[in-house]
C-alpha cells in the first residue's frame, strides 16, 4: 500500500490546551485517528484496537493522536478526561470548527452529522501514520486488525 496522498497538516490544540501542529511531533512517528468522544461504536473500537497494536509493538517512537471531528463538544478538557481514563496513550487534539475542518480536509477525512436524528457523526475511520518528518507514510482502513497494524508499525517505526 503506497503512502496516502494527503497533505497531513494541522494547526490545533492538544488536550492540555497547548497549540500544536504536525511539526510539534517531528522526530516521532505520528499515529493519527479522527473521531469524537461521544462516538458510540466506531471510535471506542478503533481506539481499543490501536491500543492493542501499540501494546504489541512495544517500545517504538510513536505518538498516538486522536483528532476530534466534533470540536463544539470536544473541548480540551473533555478530551483529556475521556482519553486519560480510557485510552491514556492518546493525546487528544481539538480546535475551532475552522481548524478542525481544515485538519480533516488535509487528511481527506469525511465528517458529517448523521441523518438519523441522533447526536452521532459519520466520519472516516482510517488510521494514518506520519513519518518523523511529518510526511504521510501509511494508512489502515477500519477493517484491519491490531496484529496487522502492529506488524506494520514494527516495520515502519521499529528500532
Amino acid at each position: 500500500m503506497s503512502a496516502p496522498p494527503i497533505r497531513a497538516t494541522f494547526s490545533l490544540v492538544d488536550h492540555h490546551d497547548r497549540p500544536v501542529t504536525e511539526a510539534t511531533y517531528r522526530g516521532s512517528w505520528q499515529l493519527v485517528q479522527f473521531g469524537f468522544t461521544h462516538c458510540r461504536v466506531v471510535c471506542p473500537r478503533a481506539l481499543a484496537k490501536l491500543g492493542e497494536a501499540l501494546d504489541l509493538v512495544g517500545d517504538a517512537p510513536v505518538v498516538p493522536l486522536y483528532v476530534t471531528v466534533d470540536p463544539e463538544r470536544d473541548t480540551p478538557a473533555v478530551m483529556r478526561a475521556f482519553l486519560t481514563g480510557a485510552h491514556p496513550r492518546f493525546t487528544g487534539l481539538t480546535g475551532s470548527a475552522a481548524q478542525v475542518e481544515e485538519a480533516a480536509a488535509a487528511f481527506r477525512v469525511f465528517a458529517r452529522p448523521r441523518d438519523d436524528g441522533t447526536d452521532q457523526i459519520r466520519h472516516t475511520a482510517i488510521t494514518y501514520l506520519l513519518d518523523p518528518d511529518g510526511r504521510p507514510a501509511h494508512h489502515w482502513p477500519d477493517t484491519v486488525d491490531a496484529a496487522t497494524i502492529a506488524a506494520d508499525l514494527a516495520r515502519f517505526a521499529g528500532s
Partner: protein, 490 residues
C-alpha cells in the same frame, strides 16, 4: 467447464463489437443516440464500456481459452474510451447548472481533467475496463505510467494541449480517496449527484485491483458504502432502488416513475457483491416493467417522458437493454428469452459485416401499439450483453476469479479478423475449439495457439495437422473442431 458452443446470434454480437472497435477514430457510426453532447445514458462511454464488460463476461464464462478473440477488441474499445469526443462533455457538465446543482454554479468551474473530481460515470469505466483487461489477460498494459492519458488539442481554439496522465493504479488510488472523502457514499456523476449505479463499476475496479495487487480495497469500500447508505436505504419507499443522492442536502431521489433503467442497471451491477439482496428484490421490481405481448413475447414499459423547466427531457433511457441484461444476470431465462423474442420480432435485427445489432429506431410503437423504439446502447450493446452473459455472470467474474494456473493453460492467443471462434475451453488439459472462416470481413484465416505443452498433437475434425510456431490456418467452409492434446509419453 464453459457454457458450450456459441450460437449464430451470440457470434454476431461479438462480430459487431469487433467491427465497431475497428471504426476510424471519431467515426461513431451506428452509435449516435438522441441526446446532445454525450450527456445522457446512451453516450459513447457507456456503449464502449459495456462492450468491454460483455467481452469480459464472454471470455470468462463462454470462451475462456480464447484470449486472442477478446484482447485486441478490448484494447481498441479502451483506446476509443480515451478519445476526447467521449469525455469532452465534462468540460461543460463540470460547471453545473442542472436542476440538481444550479445553486452551486458559483462554486463550480470549468474542469478539463475528466477524472479529477466527480464524473464517476466516466472515470470508473476507464478504471474498471483497464483493470478488466489486465486481470483477464494477466497483463500490465494499463499499469504503465501514462497508459490512461486524456489529451486534447485543437488547431482551431483553446491554446495549448490539455494532457492528464493516469494509469490503472493511479486512477484507482484517486478514485479510492474520492470515496474516502465522500464517506463511501459514492462519488458524484454530475456535480452534487451521487448515483448508486455509477459507483458500482468503481467497486468492480477496486476488486480487480485487489486481485492484481492484493489488499482489500473493495471490501473496505463496500463496508463503508453499506454503512453510509444504511441511513437512507438502498431502496425507496416503493421497493425500487434509490436513484441518487444530492451531496449537499443528503436528499435521496427515489425511482419515482419508476424508471426501468434505474432498477435494472443498478441490479445488474450491484449483484456482483450483493447477490442475495438483488435476487430477493428482482421479481417484484421487474414485474412493474414487463408488458406481455399477444405473441408470448415481453417488452419493457418505460416511464413517461418527463418535462423539466418546461423542457422535454430527451435521453436514451436504454430501458429495453437494461432490463434484458438484468434478466440475464438474474438467470431469469423465461423473461430473457421473451424479451429477446420481442426484440427479434419488433426491433429490426440487422446483420452487417457479419455482425448483429438492432439499429436505432425512434418510432415508439408499430401500428398495433407494440414497442419498436430502441437506442444504440440497447441495440449495439445491451441485447448482446444479455445474450452472451450467463446466470450470475458478473457475480462470477467478481467472486470467482481465475486462478493463476488459468494463464498457463493452452489457449488461442491470436485470432485473425476473419476467424470465428464459437468454442474454446480446456478440459482435462486438452484444448477444444470450434473455428470457422467468416467471409464477410477480410483476414488471413489464421489463429495462433499458445502455451501448448511440448509434443502437443493437433487435430482438425479428427485429422492430425501441424501448426508451426503455433500458427494454424483455418480452412474455408463449415466450422471445424480443433483438439490440441498433450503428446503421449513413449
Amino acid at each position: 467447464m464453459s457454457a458450450g458452443v456459441l450460437d449464430r446470434e451470440q457470434l454476431g454480437h461479438l462480430r459487431h463489437w469487433d467491427n465497431l472497435s475497428r471504426q476510424w477514430p471519431n467515426d461513431w457510426s451506428l452509435m449516435q443516440g438522441k441526446g446532445t453532447s454525450q450527456d445522457d445514458f446512451g453516450g459513447y462511454r457507456f456503449q464502449l464500456a459495456y462492450m468491454v464488460y460483455a467481452l469480459a463476461l464472454t471470455h470468462r464464462h463462454r470462451l475462456p481459452a480464447a484470449p486472442g478473440v477478446f484482447r485486441p477488441t478490448m484494447q481498441r474499445l479502451i483506446e476509443k474510451l480515451l478519445l476526447p469526443e467521449v469525455w469532452l462533455y465534462w468540460r461543460d457538465v463540470s460547471r453545473g447548472g442542472s436542476v440538481f446543482n444550479a445553486h452551486l454554479v458559483d462554486q463550480l468551474h470549468e474542469e478539463w481533467d475528466p477524472v479529477i473530481r466527480d464524473n464517476i460515470m466516466y472515470s470508473a469505466y476507464v478504471q474498471s475496463c483497464a483493470l478488466l483487461h489486465d486481470h483477464l489477460f494477466a497483463d500490465d498494459r494499463y499499469a504503465a505510467p501514462g497508459a490512461l492519458t486524456f489529451r486534447h488539442w485543437s488547431f482551431f481554439w483553446g491554446g495549448g494541449e490539455k494532457r492528464f496522465a493516469y494509469d490503472r493504479d493511479s486512477l484507482t488510488e484517486h478514485l479510492y480517496w474520492q470515496m474516502v472523502e465522500n464517506g463511501y457514499l459514492g462519488v458524484a456523476c454530475e456535480p452534487n449527484c451521487v448515483f448508486q449505479i455509477c459507483n458500482q463499476p468503481a467497486i468492480l475496479g477496486f476488486r480487480l485491483h485487489d486481485l492484481i495487487h492484493g489488499g482489500s480495497r473493495a471490501d473496505e469500500v463496500i463496508a463503508g458504502y453499506e454503512k453510509a447508505w444504511a441511513d437512507f436505504g438502498r431502496l425507496d419507499d416503493n421497493g425500487h432502488y434509490a436513484m441518487m443522492m444530492l451531496s449537499d442536502t443528503r436528499a435521496v431521489r427515489p425511482n419515482e416513475a419508476p424508471s426501468p433503467w434505474v432498477d435494472a442497471w443498478c441490479g445488474a451491477l450491484m449483484t456482483m457483491w450483493n447477490r442475495d439482496f438483488v435476487h430477493r428484490h428482482y421479481p417484484s421490481q421487474v414485474a412493474a416493467f414487463l408488458v406481455p405481448g399477444d405473441d408470448g413475447a415481453l417488452s419493457v414499459r418505460s416511464a413517461p417522458a418527463r418535462e423539466v423547466m418546461g423542457q422535454p427531457v430527451v435521453i436514451d433511457s436504454c430501458d429495453t437493454g437494461w432490463v434484458t441484461a438484468w434478466a440475464s444476470e438474474m438467470g431469469d431465462r423465461d423473461t430473457l428469452e421473451r424479451l429477446l423474442a420481442h426484440a427479434d420480432r419488433r426491433m429490426g435485427p440487422t446483420w452487417r459485416g457479419g455482425g448483429l445489432y438492432y439499429p436505432r429506431n425512434d418510432t415508439p410503437t408499430d401500428a398495433h401499439g407494440r414497442r419498436t423504439d430502441i437506442e444504440p446502447m440497447s441495440g449495439n450493446v445491451l441485447l448482446g450483453y444479455a445474450r452472451l452473459n450467463v446466470p450470475d455472470g458478473l457475480w462470477g467474474l467478481y467472486q470467482q476469479p481465475w486462478s493463476p494456473e488459468h494463464h498457463e493453460e493452452p489457449a488461442i492467443v491470436e485470432v485473425d479478423r476473419d476467424v470465428e471462434v464459437s468454442r474454446a475451453e480446456v478440459v482435462d488439459g486438452v484444448l477444444h475449439a470450434r473455428l470457422r472462416r467468416e467471409t464477410a470481413v477480410p483476414g488471413d484465416g489464421r489463429v495462433t495457439l499458445g502455451r501448448l505443452p511440448g509434443g502437443a498433437r493437433l487435430r482438425l475434425d479428427g485429422v492430425e495437422v501441424s501448426a508451426p510456431d503455433g500458427v494454424l490456418t483455418v480452412p474455408d467452409g463449415p466450422a471445424v473442431d480443433l483438439v490440441a492434446a498433450p503428446g503421449t509419453t513413449p
